[in-house]
């Protein structure tokens, strides 16, 4: 147990080992360590961000679904209304058409009746004239008596 030059030998070795560790060991290991720490914290952050985004997406999805449902319901309501409208329109159009057909048929009928009446009248007039000719035994001058005949026909 005596102090001697070993002291300085040991000191030199110590300095060398510290220098070596500082130069070639510590920075590399620390770098790997810190890189991994960063990767882990980045990963955790990314995971929590992903989770948050997922939550947001879920919420958004629910909102969109809700909106779509509402829209669909609106569309159905609109379609129903429109269908009702169409049916109503068709109904009223049909009514009108029926009315119109009825009216025109009526007028045709009236006209036919009128014409028949005219025909009947003129036939009756001719019959009456013929009857009268027979009765009178002479021919009635049609031109002379047409005024009378017309008057009779008018009275029919």
């Amino acid at each position: 147990m005596n102090f001697n030059a070993t002291l300085f030998g040991q000191l030199l070795a110590f300095v060398f080992f510290v220098w070596f560790t500082m130069q070639y060991v510590w920075p590399y290991i620390l770098e790997a360590l810190e890189e991994r720490e960063k990767e882990i914290s980045d990963g955790l952050e990314a995971a929590s961000r992903g989770k948050r985004e997922l939550d947001e997406a879920h919420q958004k999805k629910a909102e969109i679904l809700e909106e779509a449902k509402k829209e669909a319901a609106d569309l159905v309501n609109q379609a129903n209304a429109r269908a009702n409208q169409l049916v109503e329109d068709a109904k009223s159009a049909a009514h009108e058409e029926a009315e119109r057909i009825k009216v025109s048929a009526q007028s045709d009928l009236d006209q036919a009746a009128k014409r028949t009446k005219e025909e009947l009248r003129s036939e009756v007039a001719a019959l009456a004239v013929a009857g009268a000719e027979r009765i009178l035994g002479s021919e009635i001058d049609k031109d002379k008596n047409s005024q009378i005949i017309d008057q009779i026909a008018q009275e029919l």
């Binding site: 102090f3 030998g9 070795a13």
Partner: protein, 305 residues
């Protein structure tokens, strides 16, 4: 494995003698002479360890500490070179655990600034001192036995008759490291506070500048005692541990000669086991303490008191 030719005193003395290579008073360099013969077979020794004085190297201490240090940096370098952030292997995991531990200690104890020296310094101290301390757990006669060509340590058979495997039980090793820390403390003290500021801290406190002589008497011993104690603490703990192992090893002396020798040997095994288990704690604790105290003292060097 104490050989029968040795008595207890010789055995203990043998285990406390370093393999020393130094400059003798006559100017020649040689291994030391112990009990009339050279520590290394086939060499001429012209003086003993005490005559060598300062210019002597404890070859075993330097060899073991440099060997362990080299092992440390090669291992660490290999891990560092292949370090990847995404696929750490088992060894990288273990080293990373160590680095994290050291980094946390640096962050806790050294808060002055971001000094890139502190991490590597603390890591080197912790691992190197731990490895050197660990040598204490190697069976006490194993390495001397191997060094001496697989014969009893003091026998004539092998090449090297003396070899202490535990570098920290030689005061030069821990004090050499403590000297490095002492230099760093002075460097940072002067760098951060200026030479005047540093000296003022030692002279103008705690009683103001008119009491400078008394302040110096208080401050100087305190300042240097803690740095001295840094090395002495490690040396003392491990030397004491080594000493106990040596004493326990004496139990094995008569193992093959008598029934009491066998009983003593069994008791020695039990004691050795208990002490080794306890010593695991000392080994790691002292390495850790050396590291933490270094950081604390360097932090103090950065602070203005």
């Amino acid at each position: 494995m104490a050989s029968k030719e040795l008595n207890s005193t010789d055995y203990i003395e043998h285990h406390l003698t370093n393999l020393t290579y130094g400059k003798c008073p006559d100017g020649t360099w040689s291994f030391a002479e112990v009990h009339g013969k050279s520590q290394v077979a086939g060499t001429e020794a012209s003086c003993n360890i005490n005559e060598m004085g300062f210019w002597a190297f404890q070859v075993d201490t330097l060899f073991m500490s440099v060997l362990l240090g080299m092992g440390m940096i090669f291992f660490m370098r290999r891990v560092a070179k292949n370090a990847s952030s995404c696929k750490p292997g088992r060894i990288q995991n273990a080293v990373e655990y160590l680095v994290t531990l050291v980094r946390d200690q640096v962050q806790d104890n050294f808060t002055a600034d971001k000094n890139p020296l502190m991490g590597p310094l603390a890591l080197t101290i912790f691992v190197w001192v731990f490895l050197m301390n660990l040598m204490d757990l190697i069976p006490i006669d194993l390495v001397p036995w191997m060094a001496n060509g697989f014969t009893a340590p003091n026998a004539e058979g092998g090449a090297i008759h003396y070899f202490k495997v535990l570098p920290v039980a030689d005061i030069n090793a821990p004090m050499g490291m403590a000297l490095g820390v002492l230099i760093l403390i002075h460097y940072y003290s002067i760098k951060k506070k200026g030479l005047g500021g540093f000296l003022a801290e030692l002279t103008f406190q705690p009683y103001g500048k008119w009491m400078a002589p008394i302040n110096v008497i208080f401050e100087i011993p305190g300042f240097y005692a803690k740095q001295l104690a840094l090395g002495l603490r490690l040396y003392g703990n491990l030397f004491a541990g080594e000493m106990i192992f040596i004493l326990i090893a004496l139990f094995f002396g008569g193992f093959f000669s008598s029934i009491t020798g066998v009983l003593a040997g069994v008791a020695g095994l039990a004691l050795n086991f208990i002490w080794a288990v306890f010593h695991i704690l000392v080994v790691i604790l002292q390495a850790f303490l050396f590291m933490v105290l270094t950081l604390v003292y360097l932090q103090q060097a950065h602070e203005h008191h």
